[in-house]
Symmetry: C2
Amino acid sequence: MKTLVRNIAQLGGIQSHNKALRGEAMADFPVLPQAWLVLENGCIHAWGQETDPKGLPQADMVLDAKGATVLPAWCDSHTHLVFAGSRENEMVDKIKGLDYAAIAAKGGGILSTAKAIAQTSENDLYAQAMARIERLVQMGTGAFEIKSGYGLDLENELKMLRVIRRLKESLPIPIRSSFLGAHSYPLAFRQNHEGYLQLIEKEMLPAIVAEGLADYVDVFCETGFFSLAETKRICVAAQEKGLGVKLHANQLSAMGAVELGVALGAISVDHLETMDAASINALANADTIGTLLPGAAFFLRQSQPPARELLQAGAALALASDFNPGSCPTGNMNLVLALACIQAKLLPAEALNAATLNGAFAMGLQKEVGSIAVGKKANLIFTSPIPSLDYLAYAFGDCWVNKVMVNGQFI
Amino acid sequence: MKTLVRNIAQLGGIQSHNKALRGEAMADFPVLPQAWLVLENGCIHAWGQETDPKGLPQADMVLDAKGATVLPAWCDSHTHLVFAGSRENEMVDKIKGLDYAAIAAKGGGILSTAKAIAQTSENDLYAQAMARIERLVQMGTGAFEIKSGYGLDLENELKMLRVIRRLKESLPIPIRSSFLGAHSYPLAFRQNHEGYLQLIEKEMLPAIVAEGLADYVDVFCETGFFSLAETKRICVAAQEKGLGVKLHANQLSAMGAVELGVALGAISVDHLETMDAASINALANADTIGTLLPGAAFFLRQSQPPARELLQAGAALALASDFNPGSCPTGNMNLVLALACIQAKLLPAEALNAATLNGAFAMGLQKEVGSIAVGKKANLIFTSPIPSLDYLAYAFGDCWVNKVMVNGQFI
């Protein structure tokens, strides 16, 4: 069953690569004007130009894209979208001048969401996460990574990861799962880090691996959270059990987290708001992908990562939402794209590559999604008519995604 | 014909005032939980609580709000939404490091849009603006001010203002029109300011007033654009012909524009990114409304206006989009609300008042729209279920507007 999609004003993201795009190459987001696309069995089969004198290919069905721009659906490689509750009260407290410590003293922060998670059933968490994903797929996201990390004990970390597994099983789009038990020390272990590290190593990791619940381990490597040594210990234990590594690195301080991630062979190091020469240099010379989360820096009123310096140094960058109730209460990748350009000064083409193919690489899904390539899933965005691809980042308050295709079917 | 709207989780913005809200009073956005609302002839007639033992009022028709939060539609008191073309190329040039002068030398800036306006027919301008407005009404805006200012000659300023008049006549929502011939000196008059000022005074203003095309005059009072003396001369000439005054003030420099606006009795002074003690003091002690345009400061990577200082001093603030193709290519007031809180540090309640009732005051529409008050138009936002009104600004990447009512009818 072949479907011909014709009358595509611009077909964007036509590319195949064995490694993530990096440095100067990120400024090239290949676009074919006046294009057609053939889909077969939910996958991309062929493409060409309507102006080609050979004419259009044969197909069983023809779809008229009506002048849409078509591009790969967003690959959001960093989310915490399984959560309960909302934390707009903390936003108000911060505007009133309360600092992080005062908000924590009122019961806010990660531990506030952890409390809400503990009080919410697996079924309810699943339903809430599913509703979020359905909204986001309509806004153009076609693959997600989702983290645990609001459980912070065996029972609730497993609950979160089982929710993610159910999402994997029931959704037609690829989902990757990361175990983030090392998101914050729970109150009971604030003075007993060794106790929590042993809980992770001896109880959580074995149970998670036995159930096959995680693709990656992730650690919030930061002053006041998990030290370099603690981070390394957790990552090595997880790697020995076959998990890949992601890190929350250099969000608040340049304390060596990026360098550690690179040394561990992490698939990605995420955040990067606070970089120094050593961390930029480490990332520039590694296969590890640097994942920017401009929505979080925006919402927290932080400086954005030094994206231009990272690209000039030759790093590979991905773009993700960081959707979570504390520091980025949205998963709208269209706005993330705009924030990356307006605040972090990525060129629109760089941001498009970062949010599609490099996002796919940052969760090991580059063979399935992230570009227009033969055999990849037809997870595609169809826009309303727009004058150029740059327009998507420029018209920052609007969602120009008109229709979204998953496995060759409009949803 | 009375319509009862019941099952409203929160009815927000219930208030009547003779003057715009100012200073501390802006932090109170009155909300009634578990409410009902009666509409009559497209206007607000009565409201109350479902828990009231007297029971619900009689009505000819009952609508179930299904737990929506209901609030006055946004009043967007500063837009340039009649335009042609888009300027994403300038966004890319700026990321690449080009400055304002280099972009202007390439034909960019206001004059680029002026060129596009000159090449576009009145009918096409009307159709494009109408499409923008229809999108924005669905996103919750129920009243607009629209400026000319990309014409910069008699023919094209009249063309823009006639487009705005046609929008006024054909739309069911209130529209106010501002003549912004003094937006920039056109190339032909760069060395002959006197010539352009005379063109405005002797040709444009008389023709505009003869056709009744404008409610306000507006001037871009700024170094390199219109000086204090030039601004005053244009405003006085317009006032003598019965127009009200608005100003683009203190966007790039504190050169006295706010003080001039206050002295002229302007209804609003807009932008305010660059304020000093004198301009803050002038605004704090005047009826003139200070209109913040956080989308423009965000897109231009400027500092936001000192909103907290202005409120502490006692000023009245409105919030508007500044929708235009150069410095704010969106009219999404939901995102403007979030930007006002995240970047300019307004409290959500202050931003809600600024975007509704004070927005209405800033275009002289306070008797028609901007709050839940007897006799005002039922131009209302119905949200999806949300936990609180603060949530609207917190969930910054999402549009929680589910349905919009204009004159008592869902559109």
